[in-house]
Amino acid sequence: MVDLTYWLALLVTVLNYATPLLIAAIGVLIVEKSGVLNLGVEGMMIVGAMVGYVAGSYLDTASCKLMGFDGVTCLQFEGSLTIPGYIAAFLLAGVAGAALASLFALMTQVFNANHVATGLGLTILGLTLTNGFGPDAKDMRVESVANILPDAWVDLPVIGRLLGTDLLTYLSFAAAVASLYFLSRTRLGMLVRAAGENHHAAHAIGYPVRLIRVGTILFGGFMAGIAGAYISLVQLEAPTWREGMTAGAGWLALALILFSTWRPLRVVLGALLFGLAFSLELRLQTMGWMPSWGVQFILPSLPYLVPVLVLVIISRNSAMIRANQPGSLAEPFSPSS
């Protein structure tokens, strides 16, 4: 039963589920490091998922028509997503996420509204925006997503599946390393941390606390949007849109940050662990030895039970949490007070 193909396939599935969690979580990490708690990740993700899907479906046909070709010629582009179209779809999804985040920025940085309430509101708004106003699948068709590696590599036996992993999976891991570098080695990263650690002190030194925070909030929205588009465009191999399809992934990204105690490389570890929880459900069902309560209750709940368990384990060590937790997290700040 030791079958290399099987285990590689499992690894690919784990990476596939881990990628959007990781992308969104890096955004959350930067936002929280600046002292802002935005619980609207799920809302920004679902909007990104919808926008990415719609953009992916229309972009290539639309740009073909813009270039002056007639509808018949452009039909060949229907259902295929070229690499420029792929990049554009993800960028648009990111912008959509950032647009929703700008509302959060307005509420918390200008009106000084409560972070938790506003974040919850943002999630509800995102789910509402896409619920019912979402696109009709019958008009949408995106059949293939861009693959950056040569086809010959991807067609290789066994290892090909791994090489065929989406470009964004590689990029998300690179982004985790980059965020570590950004926070610990760059001047901007230092500003972000200063704003999060003690906003009054940062303000007193003359750092533009609000400006920094607006910047991180928009970045967080951008990353959440991209993560959402990954779910609708890449994760299922078949680009698909369904209301509520992020199914709590945004909340898992928030849980990942608690799990990692605000350290970037631990975020990677957590994403892989959560990804494994997702991958196991159907695989264990097909093995057939599980009782029905296992198949119907425990397995579908794994992606939500695993985070709870790891949070319990992590949270017991409060010293470790305090060492990295931004001191001003979620506290309202107005320069005048």
């Binding site: 509800i124 106003f133 709590g248 119907q296 939500y304």
Partner: protein, 387 residues
């Protein structure tokens, strides 16, 4: 001229102003959005607001709005206790499900009796079910310092799966299949799965009946006797919060150690009380919903209709105050059932997510104007303002 002065701890005039500004802003923004989203915005808005006068049986429409208003208000009241203290229970949806499961299991444990006398025990089972589910995040937060917001939310997914598993396996009910002669020859499981229904004596029946204009038939509305239970629970809990010492302590309590001596009890007690009240009320609502509307447990997705999440919005819209919550709950419920009415009109066919949209807009308007309630509205002569 009118001036706004800071008022520590809030002032009624500021609160009134903030509600007024938020309401006007909500109406204006919603109307603009409706104009973009529907072909006939005026007609849609008109139907949305007057649907209780339209249709064949007005009482039926009132029933939908009122019953949903009660469900939302009771759950939101429970949540508001914790939110004031910084205890974030956002898993009322799961506690609602656990309440329904608790009520149903209580009935089975008692031997599935067919008598009215057992109804209080079912309700009690519902309260306990909600409390048990809420006890998980409460215990983890109070004793293991685990983030209660995420845990309570994750448990919504788990509760949904639990409900689904229960009705698909141990509690699965089936409908008798009859042959041509009317003899039962088999039993076809429901799909999506559901449990056997509660016997009719255990159900909350309609209190108000409407008369259909077209057929003259008498139609039971959703104004059912279970709403009396919920109304009573709301009244009692609200009275405790507003007029008793423990209520006062809860209102000033914080989950942080700093506020401990102020409230007079520890943060652990605050966390436990918040979760038990919110879980218990959500569980009670779940039990009433089971006994008045669904009669059987069904798979998670079909049983739950987002009441637990909508109640979070209601709690904030009502400014975490028992009176405000009641007003917000009925206003939103009225719009919700209006939107579902509009969605069935062939000429309008506006999607009923319009309601969710208005709800979100209202929430943001309410949050943006929240700062106003910390101010005092005064009338001053121009000259006096220099002094």
């Amino acid at each position: 001229m009118i001036r706004l002065l800071p008022a520590k701890g809030g002032h009624w005039s500021g609160a009134l102003l903030s509600v007024l500004v938020a309401t006007v802003a909500t109406v204006v923004i919603s109307a603009i959005l409706l104009a973009f989203l529907t072909d006939k915005p005026v007609r849609t808005l008109w139907e949305l607001l007057t649907y209780t006068m339209q249709g064949g049986t007005p009482a039926v429409q009132w029933g939908k709005a009122l019953s949903e208003g009660f469900y939302l208000a009771v759950i939101a009241l429970g949540l508001s206790v914790g939110y004031k203290a910084g205890v974030w229970n956002i898993g009322a949806e799961g506690q609602f499900a656990a309440g329904a499961i608790g009520a149903y299991l209580t009935w089975l444990v008692l031997g599935a009796p067919v008598t009215v006398a057992v109804m209080p025990f079912l309700l009690l089972g519902g309260v306990l079910g909600g409390m048990v589910w809420a006890a998980i995040p409460a215990a983890l937060r109070a004793h293991l310092n685990t983030n209660e917001l995420l845990v309570s939310l994750m448990l919504v997914y788990v509760a949904t799966n639990l409900l689904t598993y229960l009705v698909q396996s141990p509690l699965q009910g089936c409908a008798p299949a009859l042959d041509a002669a009317g003899n039962q020859v088999g039993c076809i499981p429901y799909s999506p799965a559901q449990s056997e229904k509660l016997p009719s004596v255990l159900r909350f029946g309609p209190l108000v009946f409407g008369t259909s204009a077209s057929s003259g038939a008498s139609i039971g509305t959703k104004i059912h006797s279970g709403l009396l239970v919920l109304g009573g629970a709301y009244f009692v809990v609200a009275a405790i919060l507003l007029f008793t010492l423990i209520g006062f302590r809860l209102r000033v309590a914080q989950s942080s150690a700093k506020a401990e001596r102020f409230a007079g009890f520890s943060s652990a007690v605050t966390i436990w009380l918040s979760f038990m009240i919110s879980g218990g009320l959500a569980g009670l609502t779940g039990a009433v919903f089971l006994m008045a509307e669904s009669f059987s447990l069904t798979v998670g997705g079909a049983f739950l209709s987002n009441l637990g999440f909508a109640a979070i919005v209601i709690a904030f819209l009502g400014r975490l105050h028992p009176v405000g919550i009641l007003a917000a709950a009925f206003a939103i419920a009225y719009i919700n059932s209006g939107a579902s009415w509009v969605a069935s009109q062939p000429e309008l066919r506006a999607d009923d997510s319009v309601a969710g949209f208005i709800e979100a807009i209202a929430l943001f308007c309410a949050l943006a104007t929240a700062a106003l309630s910390q101010r005092r509205l005064i009338w001053k002569k121009e000259a006096a303002s220099h002094g």
